[in-house]
């Protein structure tokens, strides 16, 4: 059964396999919908438990169990070989959702454009960008499929489709991403100016620490502020870069470890609740 599912297929076999999988999935969903709610919930709980149990068991069962002695898979157990197919199956299911995202975008942006609502220009820009990038990208990809030599690939890049692709990707997309990221610099200035106020002793301590770490991380601090202290001198501990390094590698690291520790405990507890279907709240359903 495992081999039937994981064996690579090509051509008409692949198409039939995909069709069969979609059909099987649709039938399973229809059956689920037809069931009464409380049976549906129990099937969901069962699937969740079995799926989580697979990963837990794969981790807990020691290496070598269920694997022939002398095998190249000596670091695995009998469940390890299913990790990749199960992971790939999950990735494929999630990839289906990309189409839903595009449909949602088209629906949300289509209405203002068709009805001339305020902001229709933004919707027009969305459709223009989506269509242009899709057409140009797919055309270039198709052209590259046939370009098997470096000279052929250079010819594709020099052609109209290649130049358009680089205009859209390098000219628009990359630069727009960099621009938005650059906004952070301005926002940091306004946020720092607004937020760093001497309201309490803790706030003062935080500000002084921030100043030291900021100055220690840029050349101006070590070069001009404490550059006069020779390295190796008994007073060299006071050099701003050493103080900054100490702050980052001792108290900061201790605090980071404490935060990570607490976060991981929270992750373990929540993962246990989700796995055993004990999680409560609107998404997870109320207690029976």
């Amino acid at each position: 059964m495992g081999a039937f599912i994981t064996t690579p297929r090509h051509g008409i076999q692949l198409a039939l396999f995909v069709l069969g999988s979609v059909l099987a999935f649709a039938l399973a969903m229809a059956a689920m919908h037809a069931l009464p709610t409380r049976y549906r919930r129990w099937i969901t709980v069962l699937f969740t438990f079995v799926a989580g149990l697979f990963y837990l068991a794969e981790f807990v069962i020691p290496a070598g169990v269920g694997v022939p002695a002398g095998s190249s898979r000596a670091t695995d157990n009998f469940l390890s070989k299913y990790l990749d197919p199960v992971g790939n199956a999950s990735a494929i299911i999630f990839a289906v959702a990309v189409g839903m995202g595009i449909l949602n975008l088209a629906r949300v942006n289509g209405a203002p454009l068709l009805r001339g609502r305020p902001g229709w220009q933004n919707s027009l820009a969305f459709f223009a960008g989506l269509i242009a990038m899709t057409v140009v990208g797919l055309t270039r990809w198709h052209a590259m499929l046939g370009a098997t030599t470096p000279a052929a690939r250079r010819a594709v890049e020099a052609a109209l489709v290649g130049r358009l692709y680089h205009l859209l990707f390098d000219g628009f997309y990359s630069n727009l991403g960099g621009t938005v990221f650059a906004l952070l610099a301005f926002y940091i200035v306004s946020a720092s100016y607004r937020a760093f106020r001497l309201r309490s002793r803790e706030a003062t301590l935080m500000m002084v620490t921030a100043f030291i770490v900021m100055l220690g991380n840029v050349p101006v601090g070590p070069t001009y502020l404490t550059g006069w202290i020779p390295e190796g001198h008994w007073f060299s501990f006071a050099k701003v870069e050493h103080v900054s390094d100490w702050i980052m590698s001792v108290p900061n690291m201790a605090a980071q470890r404490a935060l990570i520790f607490g976060i991981m405990m929270g992750v373990i507890a929540m993962s246990l609740r989700v796995w055993l279907s004990l999680e409560r709240g609107h998404f997870f359903g109320q207690e029976d």
Binding site: S72, S174, G177, F186, S192, V220, T223, E241, S249, M253
Partner: protein
């Protein structure tokens, strides 16, 4: 809440602080920190029969920090004649890496395929890393143009993870955790990271535990590394750009002091006015 006018003045001052060093040509020499020094030593210690992997996970948004880091590391690797491979689990990183490597290869006379290779963008990072932990060449198979790795002299003798001398992850995200969990940890390969500055505090526990051998702390780390490779007074990209960063840090500190001084004076005036 900040008034719009105040905010606009702040933004103009910031723009001036960033731009001024480019016009004046001022460069402040960096002081090399222990993390950059440790990474430099780790690269120097890589034997000639092993390969260094540069994993480039960044996109256009973080080029300002990650590209100088990439360039500084490539300069060192090419200068010292070490073999290296570039790859990425995000599509854009290896593209930018190829552009930088092509330029530097011409400068250092290190032709593609003989000293360096581009393994390209790899999907399914967990599966790829697990496969690499068993056999690197078999997991990658071809370079980014589809040329079999067996045909490239740079890959001669590179098969198992033991043939990898160092992995350096240049990233604005947390792919280094996957590298440590699935490749460098199980295969006991040395690992370093060149993150953006905001992620630096997260990396210190790994340096302390020895799971990482060094780190480039954002653009400052790139500047420090360039100082090690070319000297403190060189005018490489990281060193020149750090001067602008220095100016902005001084501006921010000055504005915070000014803001607090204004608030204290206002509070005192209100208190005096209230008791009068």
């Amino acid at each position: 809440m900040l008034q719009d006018r105040t905010r606009h003045v702040l933004y103009l001052l910031l723009a001036a602080a960033i731009a001024l060093p480019f016009f004046t040509g001022t460069v402040i020499p960096p002081t090399v920190g222990p993390e950059a020094k440790a990474l430099y030593k780790a690269v120097e210690a890589v034997p000639n029969n092993k390969i260094v992997i540069l994993s480039l996970e960044y996109e256009a948004g973080t080029l300002g920090e990650n590209l100088p880091q990439t360039r500084a590391l490539m300069n060192h690797l090419m200068k010292s004649g070490k073999r290296f491979a570039i790859m990425g689990f995000e599509p854009i990183g290896p593209v930018y890496g190829q552009i930088e490597a092509d330029e530097l290869a011409a400068k250092w006379h290190r032709p593609y395929g003989k000293y360096w290779v581009n393994w390209g963008y790899r999907t399914a990072y967990v599966q790829t890393l697990k496969a690499m932990a068993k056999d690197v060449a078999a997991a990658i198979r071809t370079d980014h143009r589809g040329v079999p790795l067996s045909k490239l002299p740079v890959m001669r003798g590179i098969h198992s993870p033991k043939d990898v001398g160092l992995v350096i992850d240049i990233t604005p995200s947390t792919y280094y955790e996957a590298w440590m969990a699935f490749f460098t940890g199980p295969a006991k390969v040395k690992m370093a990271v060149a993150p953006t500055a905001v992620m630096v505090s997260d990396i210190f526990p790994y340096l302390d535990s020895g799971q990482m051998v060094g780190m480039l702390k954002g653009l400052a780390g790139a500047a420090q590394y360039e100082a090690l490779v070319f000297g403190r007074t060189s005018r490489e990209r990281g060193i020149t750009w750090m001067t602008s960063v220095s100016m902005t840090h001084i501006l921010i500190i000055a504005l915070i002091i000014l803001g607090n001084a204004t608030e204290i004076i206002t509070r005192r005036r209100k208190a005096v006015g209230g008791t009068a």
